[in-house]
């Protein structure tokens, strides 16, 4: 890699990708540090180390500081948190940081935004960059005053020499040429960062920096981007999964005023000055299309389909002791199968992108999780160097793991290339339901064995199709066999908030409850008797205490059940106690109260973490009780909010969240794991009230009528 870093003033050289105005808008007036394409871009932010400070921190003459991150803001709170990280180490309030996110011409490649990785993977490098910058600035001041840097104090964006009362602000230093040179030095991974007990900005409920724009309707989401002379694009979709276009007559669409039609094999798109017009053209053409369809299974028998198509050999199980012997020696054994439906993420903003070509360079504004991944995908699609693709992810309208792919960006770019104009493609809700990937359905087979004293001695657990997240049991069991087995999913599937941990925890924690009942033990006592992990024990005991578990457990009636569950994933721990109201005749299940305890190490932003936990609980209610993608003959039967119910205000139970601030370990992310305890706690509460065990997600009340 021969890339060079050049440090120039704004007036003498501009990044060729940007107009001066764009750059000033992006970074603010001050020293412009251009980083030659290829260096920063080739470096993965999470690896930290060798990246120059300039790649992350830019000092502005007005005293503000620009920080740069490759992460995407989609409502999870990364913008506030990464701003706090930079502010903490530069010792300024968070509102002095202007954070640029997810712009491949300006920020490092920090990977895709997923897996609760921002907190453990991206906050530390941001803090190291800011701390290195602070040290370099302190050294510059020390040099200027000819004193030892260690004698200087850094506070509120200024460096002070107490002995002489001399003071230099960051704004003063921003004007110095030495800063540019200093900031070309590498970020030090061994730099001293603030200890948790010294935090002033981290640890506080800093609001989302651009929230005023959100309440004013001024923020531009990907679907709001408008470019001069932009057209709106629509793509012809197959009538069912796997259908291929055999013929189409585009004459009528082409004859429509202001409509441009693009066909390239199976890709047929329409662009027009309004989305209404583009849709009219698409509908006119669709009437003439002839499709070859393929057979496709129904959601009604999807679980037997997944089982029949499971990988042979049952994957590579992780084994402890001997499951055969454990089950054979057990005084009592249970064997049950749990299932999960496919569900959709349904972020409020469906996929959207604008693409624009200029002089062979492609610029795309898109709603997706991976700016650099999208850049690579687009470069491959058009067989061009990645350096000629510029991807910008404006803060977008939700994702929940569902926007790793950038289909709309590719579609917009194809239409823009063929028509010669910028094109906006915004998926409809029906398209998002039908063509975005789903959370996998699953079949989870569980066997358990108890000895004569009621202790768990055998545990056999196999997840077919959904994956291995949180599949290991945290319980102390001498004989276990645990496997994640792939299958041939007939539906496009992918990530979802906390991946398979929700399904695995649903099956495990429900089955634990079944075993507790078989052992004649209280569900809390049974878990604690098998649980060593002190963090899980702490959240479970705290949730039980806040909920008043012991007393409320005694008061269970056929109409009112309580249940609990716990779990761990992504280095965080959660426990939930719920109260569920049951109307057996009406087949209704109403979650009345959720008491959840969550711990993910030192809390970096308590306000945002509370929102994330509340959001997980309510999103989790949907998957637990009503959400299910239904399909038949390759068609989604409920591709809209009419047929696919998501939680609304009226579904929200009394929610009591307790966040444990554990300060002696590193912080973990908190946007996913709080979702995993809810469904099993509900399942256990239904069982406590009715004696009926519903082993499928969603848990439908009709099951209570039939039982």
């Amino acid at each position: 890699m021969n890339a060079k870093i050049s440090t120039k003033s704004l007036d003498t050289e501009l990044n060729p990708a940007l107009s001066r105005r764009a750059f000033v808008q992006a970074l603010g007036a001050g020293i412009l540090i251009t980083v030659t394409d290829g260096l920063v871009l080739a470096q993965r932010g999470e690896r930290g180390g060798s990246m120059p400070v300039t790649a992350r921190i830019h000092l502005n003459e007005d005293g503000t500081i620009t920080a740069m991150s490759g992460k995407v803001e989609e409502g999870q709170g990364a913008r506030a948190q990464l701003s706090q990280a930079a502010a903490e180490e530069l010792r300024v309030p968070a509102n002095r940081i202007r954070l640029i996110m997810a712009d491949t011409d300006l920020v490092p490649d920090d990977g895709i935004t997923a897996g609760s990785r921002t907190t453990p993977g991206n906050v530390p490098p941001m803090r190291q960059a800011a701390a290195t910058a602070r040290e370099l600035l302190t050294q510059l001041a020390a040099k200027q005053w000819q004193v030892d840097a260690a004698t200087l104090e850094v506070r509120d964006g200024a460096i002070t020499n107490k002995a002489t009362q001399q003071k230099l602000t960051y704004a003063d230093l921003a004007k110095s040429k030495d800063v540019a040179e200093a900031f070309s030095k590498s970020i030090r991974s061994d730099v001293t960062v603030a200890a948790v007990n010294e935090w002033k900005v981290l640890g506080s409920p800093v609001p989302r920096p651009n929230s005023r724009d959100l309440v004013a309707g001024a923020h531009q989401f990907p679907s709001d981007i408008v470019r001069p002379n932009m057209l709106y694009g629509k793509i012809l979709r197959p009538p069912s999964y796997g259908a291929t276009l055999e013929s189409i007559d585009l004459t009528a669409a082409k004859a429509m005023e202001d409509v441009m039609v693009v066909q390239d094999g199976q890709f047929v798109g329409f662009a027009a000055p309004s989305s209404w017009r583009a849709t009219e053209a698409m509908e006119a053409a669709a009437k003439t299309a002839s499709w070859k369809t393929v057979s496709h299974p129904s959601s009604k028998n999807i679980h037997s389909y997944l089982k029949e198509h499971a990988e042979t050999g049952r994957g590579r199980p992780s084994v402890r002791g001997s499951i055969e012997k454990g089950l054979a020696d057990a005084a009592k054994t249970l064997s049950e199968t749990y299932t999960l439906a496919y569900i959709q993420h349904t972020p409020m903003e469906p996929r959207a992108a604008v693409a624009e070509w200029n002089d062979g360079k492609l610029t795309v504004w898109a709603g997706c999780d991976g700016p650099y991944r999208a850049r690579g995908d687009l470069a491959r699609l058009f067989n061009m160097p990645a350096e000629r693709v510029h991807v910008i992810i404006p803060d977008m309208g939700g994702g929940f793991g569902g926007k790793h792919s950038a289909e709309a960006a590719e579609e917009a770019a194809r239409l823009a290339k063929a028509t010669g104009w910028p094109v906006s493609v915004r998926w409809t809700r029906a398209e998002e339901f039908t063509w975005a990937y789903c959370r996998p359905a699953a079949v989870i087979e569980c066997k358990g064995g108890l000895d004569a004293k009621g202790s768990l001695v055998a545990w056999d657990f196999t997840n077919i199709n959904a994956g291995g997240s949180a599949i290991d049991t945290p319980y102390n069991i001498p004989n276990t066999r645990i496997a994640s087995v792939g299958s041939d999913s007939p539906v496009k599937q992918g990530s979802y908030r906390c991946l398979a941990a929700t399904g695995n925890n649903f099956a495990r924690e429900s089955f634990m409850d079944e075993l507790a009942a078989a052992a004649g033990a209280d569900p809390l006592d049974f878990r604690l008797a098998h649980l060593e992990n002190p963090r899980i024990r702490a959240v479970l005991e705290a949730a039980a205490k806040h909920f008043n578990w012991a007393e409320r457990r005694k008061k269970v009636t056929p109409e009112l059940g309580v249940g609990l569950a716990c779990g761990t994933e992504k280095n965080s721990v959660v426990a939930a106690c719920v109260e569920v109201g049951i109307d057996r005749k009406g087949g209704e299940i109403k979650v009345r109260e959720v008491c959840e305890t969550f711990e993910c190490g030192p809390i970096q932003n308590p306000g945002n973490l509370l929102s994330q936990v509340q959001g997980c609980i309510v999103m989790g209610l949907g998957g637990a009780l009503f959400e299910e993608i239904q399909f038949e003959d390759g068609k989604i039967l409920n591709a809209g909010f009419a047929g696919y119910r998501v939680p609304r205000f009226s579904d929200v139970p009394r929610i009591d969240v307790h966040l444990i601030n554990k300060t002696d370990i590193p912080s973990a992310g908190g946007g996913e794991t709080p979702i995993i305890a809810l469904a099993p706690a509900i399942s256990n509460a239904i069982f406590a009230a009715t004696g009926v065990r519903i082993r499928s997600m969603p848990m439908r009340g009709e099951a209570l009528k039939q039982a």
């Binding site: 409020m348 205000f649 929610i655």
Partner: protein, 156 residues
Amino acid sequence: MDVTVTMVVNGVERTVTTDPQRPLLDVLREELHLTGTKYGCGEGRCGACTVLMDGKRTLACVTPVSLADKKAITTIEGLAKGDALHPAQEAFLEEGAMQCGYCTSGMILSTVALLKENANPTDEQIVAGMNGNICRCNGYVKIVNAVRRAAEKMRR
């Protein structure tokens, strides 16, 4: 056949000649470049496209633009007076009642409409009044708090 529709949008008279069946949402966003009103479902079931038409809550995605002729439309962009936010906007800001913020415009306009009908709603009335608006991120708790706070502010 196209029709000419004249509306007063956020206090300004606007005239658009277009297909009468075209959704008001598309006209606001694509012709008038008021992108604060969002598309969420296209079937009037999520509330992201909520605007006020002659003061009444209206779902712009299922309202043909011809029905907006000679009407006064208020979108999220029209709530603030200069730099001064509307109390409902302030309340959402102060409660941190948004995560991704995509549903926020519709939530705020539904709040304004709800409080116009009932200046002092109970929690049950807030839930009933806001139930047409979907949020996928934040669990609704902070939004209910924001509606309560907006009500307090507007009663002052």
